[in-house]
Subunit: 173 residues, 2 copies
DNA sequence: CATCGCTGGTTGCACAGTACAACTCTGACC
DNA sequence: GGTCAGAGTTGTACTGTGCAACCAGCGATG
């Protein structure tokens, strides 16, 4: 059945409601967006990759979190985080302090320089997003924002998704 | 949940209207989503990367498009597309035919096998998305879908974004 | 106290996706 | 024919990523 009819909700399982078409569209558009995000970030702020930006952003709102937290939240391998963290540290954007209570963990903090870099990029992104969303009615903006939060709140990533659910569900605000 | 509250926190910049906060949240959540998308796709359907899936999907709806079209639409370098296309062809999922009118261009088509692979994956994705969105009221789903389409309709990627706008704006629905 | 098992983190390795630049081939126009 | 432009390919290099193997503290158990 042929994905040609994909959007048509035939195979769509439980009943051909408009909801199915909507799900289809959401799936599709999220995918398109995802595909573009990196490149877009690269164009917008070459000095801070999307990943770095995301991690810094996380650190800003939860200053003093551990590498493991980042890994859980973003569904990344700890090795990946380790490397990213190293890079960010090398770049002087964050620093790690060993937790005196548990010498295994290193608590991550933004440096001043990191905060500034983050702010610069955030500003640039904000401008871009704002421009892009300029003619949206406020009501739509808030609803869209809420939908996205709700969508992301799903424990998609973390297999033992506690971190994730907590963070995505409740934290960003 | 409270995208509505998210807002107050950040110095949403010039003029603290709720709209700014919403923009902030949208920016943030889109980013989180983007960060997860690949890994998620990898987990969901290891046999077809997010990129491959996207390209196949594009071919399905616009059968017979050129590599350049793909590059433009997805803001990818033509070399990248070239390689992806090669891989997909090697995997027997697509085939290329030289345009008889212009021997420079090769027109891309899904093979049967490609169509099936795409369908399988689409089905899997559909299921996942549907599960994830299961308890959303239909009204929210349709609105969310519309927002996403509208968002993506922005000619963000393609510098000469005609392709892009057309496709994102009108087609997926 | 010695040891085991767990958790946090790093390192080696492999691989996908990507860009950029240099190149080839083809078609269009003078 | 000569030159320019567009479509694709190839060489090269880099980033992000995961997996597996490893090291290092912590806590429980003998």
């Amino acid at each position: 059945m042929t994905a040609a009819e994909t959007p048509d909700e035939t195979s769509a399982g439980p009943g051909g409601r408009p909801a199915d078409a909507a799900v289809e569209t959401i799936q599709r558009e999220m995918t398109v967006f995802a595909r573009r995000a990196r490149a877009s970030a690269g164009r917008m702020h070459p000095e801070l990759s999307l990943v770095s930006y995301t991690l810094l952003g996380h650190l800003e709102e939860r200053d003093g979190c551990r590498a493991t937290d980042l890994a859980a939240h973003y569904a990344l391998d700890k090795s990946t985080v380790s490397r990213q963290v190293s890079a960010l540290e090398r770049a002087g954007l964050i620093e790690r302090r060993v937790d005196p209570d548990d010498h295994r963990v290193q608590v991550l903090h933004l440096t001043e320089s990191g905060r500034h870099a983050l702010d610069r990029v955030t500003e640039r992104r904000r401008t871009a997003f704002r421009e892009r969303l300029a003619d949206w009615p406020e009501e739509d903006l808030t609803r869209f924002a809420a939908y996205l939060e709700r969508y992301n709140a799903w424990p998609d990533a973390a297999p033992g998704g506690d971190e994730d659910r907590a963070a995505a569900g409740g934290t960003y605000g």
